[in-house]
């Protein structure tokens, strides 16, 4: 079974926010909310500074606390590629999933349900990439099956140093950042 994930090359990302705009357009994300965003992290001491720019979103964790804490089963892992999704009609909006996410990736949609990145599952089901991946002008984002050793994402993870966000939280994120 496929295990979808993303690999983002922080050496190529310039933080242009095209991915943010593409996501909002593709998914009709309401004004004032974001399913993905840009984080710029500066580490070190002048003049030895290191800067990393990351396009962040729901990490579609392999051990998703938002799914286990959901009292109605609205938050679930999709059969296709282990993508973490929310069934809007089952969500009572208790906000437990928001509190359980170490990445603060979820928000309450103005229509009253928990919302977040879906990895554009409606596009992926048609064999397409998520909108953010296709629109990236520096081609820094890669989408694919992490369980397939011949996929581009698997090859990149084998050949390049990488990290995930807050690994200490124990959620096993499926979004990887190349260093």
């Amino acid at each position: 079974m496929a295990r979808f994930g993303m690999v983002i090359d922080t050496k190529k990302c310039v933080g242009c926010m095209d991915c943010v705009v593409a996501c909002k357009t593709e998914n009709n994300v309401p004004e004032g909310f974001n399913r993905d965003w840009i984080v710029q992290e500066v580490i070190g001491k002048y003049p030895d500074l290191h800067m990393e720019i990351r396009s962040e979103r729901c990490n579609h964790c392999d051990n998703p606390p938002c799914v286990s804490c959901c009292p109605t089963g609205a938050s679930h892992v999709h059969d296709l590629g282990g993508v973490v999704l929310v069934n809007h009609k089952e969500c009572i909006s208790c906000k437990a999933c928001l509190a359980s996410c170490p990445y603060d990736a979820r928000f309450i949609h103005p229509d009253g349900y928990a919302d977040k990145c879906t990895l554009c599952i409606h596009r992926v089901e048609k064999g397409m990439n998520p909108a953010c991946v296709d629109v990236c002008p520096t081609h820094c984002m890669y989408f694919g099956d992490l369980d397939d050793p011949n996929s581009e994402v698997s090859k990149l993870l084998k050949s390049r140093k990488h990290h995930t966000n807050i690994p200490a939280a124990g959620t096993k994120p499926q979004i990887f950042y190349l260093m």
């Binding site: 840009i38 580490i43 959901c70 603060d104 939280a169």
Partner: protein
């Protein structure tokens, strides 16, 4: 230097999480308060005090019924998808403490109702006169009454424990992610309930007993707080940062002044004087204990939402 710049500005999420407002702390407090009253009422039934005319075990279940309903109403108010609340009862998710809680709350009601049947209030008796004969039959069986007491104590303990587990299971918030939180909430619920019964009890023996018990609960609460902070300070960087939120951070003043000093130390001192007959019993101390219990939930819920694994968020 480790500086983060984030373009995200989601409502209730940024700059720090604030998804649960006043409703959840009030609900957690009322849940713990009712749990404490059920344990106290159950204990009196177990001890056979239902033979006493003024036993608080006769009116505590009705008060619990009203307060638990108020707590469930605040929970309902917190939901953004209010009309979908019934979905909680279409499934049971074993890994979700909130699902457990929803079903525990439903199980508490029949237990409270059986307790109420032991001496139904006047307005119920006027409407349903058969209740009187049911009550007489129940009270004629001491073992049945004792068993109702034991079940009430167990159900109260489960309810009190659940209010803490609900938060401590959310590993993303380091301040909540401590396995002793349920002990703190249970002891705090017991001390608030003991203070309340101490304040309203008609029976002198019960008033004295619960003032003494409350002193014990308050002393225990201090130890539990010390253990919780010690546990956090000896854990990961994120947990140390979380402990500092209530030790020296933005929540320190409300925690040490209102929860510890006003809610525990001063009433403990007053009640120690009262049980040693140095001063008369006063409602001031119980009111302080109850207010302290409520503020404890507000501080823990607010500070917990503020705590984060990525400690750059604290800067």
């Amino acid at each position: 230097m480790n500086e983060l710049t984030n373009t995200r500005n989601n409502l209730m999420i940024d700059p720090s999480m604030n998804v649960w407002g006043w409703e959840i702390p009030v609900y957690l407090f009322l849940g713990g308060f009712v749990a404490g009253m059920m344990i106290i009422s159950g204990y009196f039934l177990f001890k056979g005090r239902n033979k006493e005319t003024n036993c608080s075990c006769f009116y505590l279940p009705l008060i619990s019924f009203v307060l638990l309903s108020a707590g469930m109403f605040t929970l309902f108010l917190d939901l953004e998808h209010k009309l979908y609340f019934w979905r909680l009862y279409t499934t049971f998710k074993i890994a979700s403490p909130m699902s457990w809680g929803a079903w525990i709350l439903i199980l508490i009601y029949p237990i409270l109702f059986v307790n109420i049947l032991l001496r139904p209030p006047g307005f119920l008796l006027k409407k349903i006169q058969r209740l009187n004969s049911i009550s007489e039959k129940m009270n004629a069986h001491p073992y049945l009454v004792k068993n109702i007491g034991v079940i009430s104590m167990l159900a109260g303990a489960v309810l009190g424990i659940y209010t803490g587990v609900l938060l401590s299971s959310l590993g993303a918030r380091p301040l909540w992610n401590t396995s002793i939180l349920w002990v703190l909430f249970l002891v705090s619920g017991l001390s608030s309930a003991a203070a309340f019964v101490h304040m309203i009890a008609k029976d002198v023996y019960e008033r004295e007993l619960l003032a003494k018990a409350d002193n014990g609960f308050l002393t225990l609460e201090i130890f539990v707080i010390i253990l919780m902070i010690t546990g956090l300070l000896t854990s990961s960087e994120a947990h140390i940062q979380a402990a500092e939120l209530i030790l020296s951070g933005p929540f320190a003043a409300s925690f040490w002044v209102f929860v510890v000093t006003v809610g525990i130390i001063i009433p403990l001192f007053i009640q120690l004087l009262a049980v040693n007959h140095k001063i008369k019993h006063t409602p001031i101390a119980p009111i302080m204990v109850i207010a302290g219990g409520l503020i404890l939930r507000f501080v823990i819920v607010s500070a917990g939402q503020y705590s984060h694994w990525s400690h750059e968020f604290f800067k």
